[in-house]
């Protein structure tokens, strides 16, 4: 493979990504691009590979085959004169810096306060001083409406508040692309709104690219430039939300949307 610079190179570019666990095919040769500033929503039934594609995009899971490029750099390969050479965790660690992720289960550090959680990457990954880290963390937590909860531990916060801390923490490294993995699925229904509002504001105000796995169709319709329908490890339909969500062509998309709406 030659590495000719691609003028239209996407911020996130996946080619032929394949992943199976034993006999079970999770992702079946996925090609997926997310352009700079683009917001892409992924919908689909559980087990369709949605979460796995996010975990692969940030390098938590290594695909069995295929390539992932983030902002031009290969995640699991190094470019040499002779072509692509497989690279390991040390290389992936550097490339991964441009990607942030918000998890379904928040994954906050329970022994740290809200501000300590957000300060953690600022101090230990970016190398800011504690004071600088605190100032920046305060800004970020204010941005997600948690100015009054800086010194609370996760256990003292509601699920919605915890997820907003997690969003602020992921923003700390100013990623070029942010991944959202069903960020409201673990929340009580009355707490979903406050988290979606934060993500929506972020989507409208920020230049970050976003790849969002969600079951909230109205939310996807509102913020996404493009919607991908996943089923059985493949993208079965994609297009603008007005098309995929309102006038789906694919039978499986129709069936899925009907099931979701009848909920």
């Amino acid at each position: 493979m030659t590495s000719v610079p691609d003028a239209s190179a996407a911020l996130l570019q996946m080619r032929g990504v394949y992943k199976s666990y034993g006999e079970r095919k999770i992702l079946d040769r996925i090609d997926l691009d997310v352009q700079a500033r683009e917001k892409v929503a992924i919908i689909g039934p559980s087990g369709s590979g949605k979460t796995t594609i996010l975990r692969i995009a940030i390098g938590l899971v290594k695909p069995d085959a295929g390539t992932i490029r983030i902002d031009g750099a290969y995640l699991w390969h190094e470019e040499t004169q002779a072509g692509l050479k497989p690279a390991g965790e040390r290389h992936a660690r550097k490339v991964r810096r441009a990607v942030g992720i918000v998890f379904q289960q928040f994954n906050l550090f329970p022994h740290m306060t809200a501000i300590e959680n957000v300060r953690e990457p600022l101090v230990h990954a970016l190398g800011l001083s504690r004071a600088e880290g605190d100032a920046r963390a305060t800004d970020l937590l204010t941005q997600v409406g948690l100015k009054d909860h800086l010194t609370k531990h996760p256990a003292q916060l509601s699920g919605g508040q915890q997820q907003r801390v997690a969003i602020a923490r992921s923003l700390a490294l100013q990623p070029k692309i942010m991944l959202f993995d069903e960020v409201t699925s673990a929340l009580d229904p009355e707490l979903v709104g406050e988290v979606l509002r934060v993500v929506r504001d972020l989507a409208h105000a920020s230049d970050m690219s976003m790849l969002i796995v969600t079951h909230e169709m109205a939310f996807a319709a509102d913020i996404a430039d493009r919607v991908l329908m996943f089923d059985q490890g493949q993208i079965v339909e994609e297009g603008p939300p007005a098309q995929v969500l309102k006038a789906p062509q694919n039978l499986r998309t129709r069936k899925f949307l009907r099931a979701v709406l009848e909920r």
Partner: protein, 221 residues
């Protein structure tokens, strides 16, 4: 039957001497625990790091320590090591023996604490770009150690009781102090009763404290 006789005046008179034994017992327990916790952490890391030859060797060593009586290990350290030119005081030998023995158990406890942490903690740390050293010192160990604190406390209590074995290698800890008094005065009832009562009192209170630690309602847990 020579009759059981408890002499309060005698019992009081030997308290100061026993107190010196208590000091040695406490020192042995404290330093032995510190050594056990530090070595245990090293064994745990060696095991996790999967270093060729080193990890299997350490693992065998840990199994060996767990599979042989502490008393034999103490005798070995006390009688054999000096013949190899390594000689330290009896107390230091005892502390090393206790530390090594209990480090094998501490290693197992640390491992359980680390493995029980949710995978999400690792994933968050990794995706936030934290350096490996910080992931361990800032994220994983503080949580893992907090979770196994009651079990580590148990090690201290067990070691406290096992310090009595150091009397067999001439360390003048609590039991040896009591026995010395008995051999001097031919009265064993008072010293041994006081010694036993002290072990029980401390162990009982410690067990109560550990139970409180286990059931504590810790907002950070």
């Amino acid at each position: 039957m020579s009759g059981f006789h408890w002499d309060w005046a005698f019992a009081w008179s030997i308290v100061p001497q026993l107190a010196q034994g208590v000091v040695v017992t406490v020192i042995a327990t404290a330093t032995g625990s510190a050594l056990a916790f530090a070595l245990g952490l090293i064994w745990t890391f060696v095991r996790i790091a999967q270093i060729r030859l080193v990890t299997p060797a350490v693992w065998f060593f840990v199994q060996f320590i767990r599979g042989t009586p502490l008393l034999i290990q103490l005798y070995f350290l006390f009688y054999v090591l000096p013949t190899w030119g390594l000689s330290v005081s009896a107390l230091a030998t005892g502390v090393i023996g206790l530390g090594l023995f209990f480090s094998a158990y501490a290693a197992e406890i640390y491992r359980a604490g680390i493995e029980d942490l949710p995978a999400g903690q690792w994933e968050a740390a990794l995706t936030l770009g934290l350096p490996v050293r910080r992931v361990w010192t800032g994220i994983i160990l503080p949580q893992a150690i907090r979770a196994v604190l009651p079990m580590l406390g148990n090690i201290v209590v067990n070691m406290f009781k096992q310090t009595a074995l150091l009397s067999t290698i001439t360390v003048l800890e609590l039991l040896a102090s009591g026995m010395a008094i008995g051999q001097m005065t031919y009265r064993f009832v008072e010293p041994l009763t006081l010694v036993g009562a002290f072990y029980f009192a401390v162990s009982y209170l410690a067990a109560r404290a550990l139970r409180a630690l286990e059931t504590r309602d810790d907002i950070r847990a």
